[in-house]
């Protein structure tokens, strides 16, 4: 039986892992290669590096971080952040990433999804969507319940796109997986936006990865069992040792969600 995936996400800036609350106020949490290896040992099913670097000099550091990680860690690695062209994607894939994640660049230039899928295969292209619940006036006027935002790091901008429609379009263009991040739930640690997950999972036929809001193993269970997500992405819940991957997997297993049995390494 296909298992549900637990995916730690590491925000990386200039070669160091950081994680903020609601995307800002970064606290240093260490070396990405060491953390990736530690998460692999701890039973993570995949890893995501999200590059929050601003400058191109620092982007070169990210390529080097991906190369070092790929030599040591042999589970799927997704790299996102600042990838604007298929050449940008190629640099990360050649360095050892298995998938690339695009967000703002795809909204500004939707053919990028198609170009990436043609050149590298849909299985390489992850469309990441930042969504916020519409205010009642917008919902009444447009029927859109969640709106897509870009530039969520520094200065969130509404795109006027409906999140569900954008996800459907992204899959038509060739995205192989969708990461859906609820901006309302992100950093709150009170659980994923389950309604958003349910609607999205019922709409697209590619895997849906829940992001934003997990504060406990029970939240992750709900995202998978009630939200019908195929995988959960989480950062802060793991980074400071509050819960281990094993804690989450044990909880999920006890509640009937299939998860990968971590190898017992002698």
């Amino acid at each position: 039986m296909l298992t549900r995936r637990i995916i730690p996400c590491l925000d990386v800036k200039a070669g160091r892992v950081v994680k903020g609350v609601s995307f800002v106020n970064h606290r240093d949490a260490g070396d990405p290669v060491a953390l990736a290896a530690a998460y692999n040992e701890a039973g993570a099913d995949e890893l995501v590096f999200y590059d929050i670097t601003a400058s191109s000099d620092e982007r070169a550091i990210m390529v080097e971080v991906v190369e070092r990680t790929a030599r040591e860690v042999f589970i799927p690695l997704t790299v996102g952040g600042g990838l604007r062209t298929t050449e940008d994607m190629y640099r990360m894939l050649r360095a050892g990433a298995d998938k690339v994640s695009i967000n703002t660049a795809a909204v500004l230039n939707p053919p990028l999804i198609e170009e990436g899928a043609r050149r590298f295969g849909s299985q390489c292209i992850v469309l990441s969507i930042d969504a916020r619940r519409s205010d009642p006036a917008t919902e009444a006027a447009t029927g859109s319940r969640w709106q897509v935002f870009t530039h969520t790091g520094r200065d969130p901008r509404s795109t006027g796109l409906d999140a569900i429609a954008w996800a459907r379009r992204g899959v038509e263009l060739g995205a192989g997986e969708i990461v859906i991040n609820s901006m309302d739930a992100d950093g709150q640690r009170t659980g994923y936006d389950l309604e958003l997950l349910r609607v999205l999972s019922a709409t697209v036929d590619v895997p849906v990865i829940a992001s934003g809001g997990a504060g406990s193993p029970a939240d992750m269970y709900q995202g998978l069992a009630d939200g019908n997500a195929d995988a959960v992405l989480a950062a802060s819940i793991f980074h400071f040792g509050e819960y281990t991957i094993a804690d989450v997997k044990n909880y999920l297993r006890e509640h009937g969600v299939p998860v990968r049995q971590s190898p017992v390494v002698n």
């Binding site: 030599r71 894939l93 295969g121 299985q123 590619v206 895997p207």
Partner: protein, 212 residues
Amino acid sequence: MFAVINYGAGNLPNAVRALQHVGADLTITSDPADVLAADAVVLPGVGATRDTMQSLDKLGISAVLPQVVARGTPFLGICVGMQVLCSRSNEFGSHPCLDIVPGVVQRLPGGQKVPQIGWNQVCYSTDAAAHPLFAGIPNGSDFYFVHSYYCNVSDPTHVAATTDYGLAFPSIVIQDNLYAVQFHPEKSGHWGLRLLQNFVQVCARADMVRAG
């Protein structure tokens, strides 16, 4: 020396890194002469069978692979590198493949998400469970899959392991010194590396038999 075939497959660098990690002495090549001269051959793969066959045809690799396998050189096919071993593929219209493993490449059944992406259990066939390729790897261990098609292998005695996804499809085929896996051992963590290490050891033994 292992020859890892370079025909533009996306997972080539990661397959190479994983093989080097378990101690394989390898060369990356697009040259049929290198493939013929190698002690063992690895065909990685991500993508579609039609594109892969076209690339292998253009390089002259498809002409030598049946010969390499027939004379007993250890061979490992990964994902699409497994699928092109079949007789035919139905992906993007029926077309011929290498016809080394009798069978047809078919789409995974509907009613579930296709492609299958993620970790799933690999369950050994009774007759294959004691094979050295599986040394130290418990039956039912999870491996990482990314695929929409699978090999519907004609001869069940070649199916060394199956995995359930809408049906029990062959996830490992063993036919003499030919090994083929539908999952990505280079991305399957500890057990994936162990499987590659076992393959390297199986190759070393085959080498000793030839030399002796």
